[in-house]
């Protein structure tokens, strides 16, 4: 992506609302404390510009939450989705230093920004699904929570046919791993088929 603004790609996501310890606790419960902490610590500050990746993350969260807000789980979904934009952006910034996910050859081919937006959406949905499952295991009495979970599931069903093409376009190992392991799909473990799971490059 020649000419891409690195600071916009790896923007710092908005922090959780002040005092929202229950959302933070939910993220910790599901093992996603790091998911939020690293972007908060290392994300680039940009004053006004909301990049395409953050807009994709916002859209993914809004499609799941549908105006639901103010609960621990909705805040956690919003935060996890926003962090997805940073993670995808960060791996995009260092992509040129990576290798192709199947050939392990360096310098994976060029990448269109639209593919990154789709990647953010996929990762955001995957993480939101995980957060919602954790919230439901605490209590499944909230109909809005159950409805949000169903929307997250359906988003995953809808995007699954596009994932092989997306993975091919992302091409670079870390980006592919990020997307293919956070999405809930049948290809979650296919990377191991090519023998790249043994960590030869890492």
């Amino acid at each position: 992506m020649p000419g891409a603004d690195v600071s916009v790609l790896a923007q710092c996501p908005s922090p959780l609302p002040a005092g929202d310890e229950s959302a933070r606790a939910l993220l910790e419960d599901v093992g996603l404390g790091f998911w939020l902490e690293l972007p908060q610590r290392h994300g680039a500050e940009t004053r006004n510009q909301r990049g395409a990746l953050h807009r994709a993350a916002d859209t993914a969260a809004q499609n799941i939450l549908v105006e639901q807000s103010g609960t621990a789980w909705s805040d956690a979904v919003t935060a996890a989705s926003a962090a997805a934009a940073w993670w995808v952006g960060f791996f995009a910034v260092i992509r040129h230093r990576g290798v192709h996910h199947t050939t392990l050859e360096p310098h994976p081919g060029p990448l269109h920004e639209q593919a990154l937006g789709t990647a953010v959406s996929v990762v955001a949905h995957g993480m939101a699904t995980r957060v919602l499952e954790a919230a439901l295991r605490n209590s499944d009495d909230d109909p809005a929570l159950r409805a949000a979970y169903c929307r997250a599931i359906e988003a995953g069903v809808c995007v699954e046919p596009e994932l092989p093409r997306l993975v091919d376009e992302l091409a670079e190992l870390r980006l592919v791993d990020l997307v293919s392991t956070t999405a809930r799909w049948r290809g979650r473990f296919t990377k191991y088929a090519g023998g790249t799971g043994a960590g030869q490059v890492e």
Binding site: R137, D140, V157, R184
Partner: protein, 228 residues
């Protein structure tokens, strides 16, 4: 008391969202309840000696092969129950994409058989009813429109036409309004397939929860396992 997972059937016209619902329920069970369902079809070709009769009877139906086809699908369903559904239910839910209701409609439309007559023949071979049959209901025009918008499906000139699909829907309606006459359908619940797919999934999930066909999440978290 036997602890086991449910046997769920999803029925409906082509284009009503059966596969989407099945995938959604699969992900829900796997992701939230931690158990991977087994998915089966209405015909699974487990009775190998019946395969030819099944293919011929389905794709070239005529009066001469009607009884052989009916016998063949009865045998195949019996084999599916004996070899897949019953052995798997202690370990995982089983979700069937169509089951009995579709067969009753096929024989009604293609052979003019009363649903009760087809049912009587099949019932002689099947001893187990699903716990739940979810029927996705949608007007014929809408279901056909959705089905035709899908990529990759072949259009069957003798089936994917409005007259046939309308008659299939009429058969569904006639059967599901008289559940006591067709006990091997199990409990039948109609879902409004006009709704968004996520809302259909939510409605199906609510039915499963109300009937205790999914574990209580509190019990599940503590390691308990009590199913319907």
């Amino acid at each position: 008391m036997n602890h086991r997972h449910p046997f769920i059937v999803i029925e409906g016209l082509d284009g009503t969202g059966k596969t989407t619902l099945r995938k959604g329920l699969f992900r829900l069970w796997e992701g939230l309840y931690g158990v991977t369902p087994l998915c089966v079809l209405t015909t699974n070709f487990l009775a190998a000696d019946q395969a030819a009769a099944i293919v011929t009877g389905k794709y070239q139906p005529n009066a001469g092969n009607r009884d052989a086809y009916l016998s063949a699908i009865a045998a195949d369903k019996r084999a599916t129950l004996d070899r897949l559904v019953l052995p798997q239910r202690p370990a995982r839910p089983v979700i069937a994409d169509r089951w009995l209701l579709s067969e009753l409609a096929f024989f009604a439309v293609k052979h003019g058989m009363r649903a009760s007559e087809t049912y009587e023949t099949l019932a002689a071979h099947l001893t187990v009813a699903p716990d739940l049959t979810l029927v996705l209901d949608l007007e014929t025009d809408a279901s056909m429109s959705r089905a035709q918008a899908r990529q990759g499906d072949a259009v069957r000139a003798d089936w994917d036409v409005h007259d046939v699909q309308s008659r299939v829907r009429e058969t569904y309606e006639a059967v599901v309004t008289k559940p006591d006459e067709f006990p091997l359908l199990g409990n039948v619940v109609r879902l409004d397939a006009r709704r968004l797919r996520s809302e259909v999934l939510l409605a199906a999930w609510d039915v499963l929860r109300e009937r205790q066909l999914v574990p209580s999440l509190a019990a599940h978290a503590e390691g308990g396992e009590t199913h319907g």
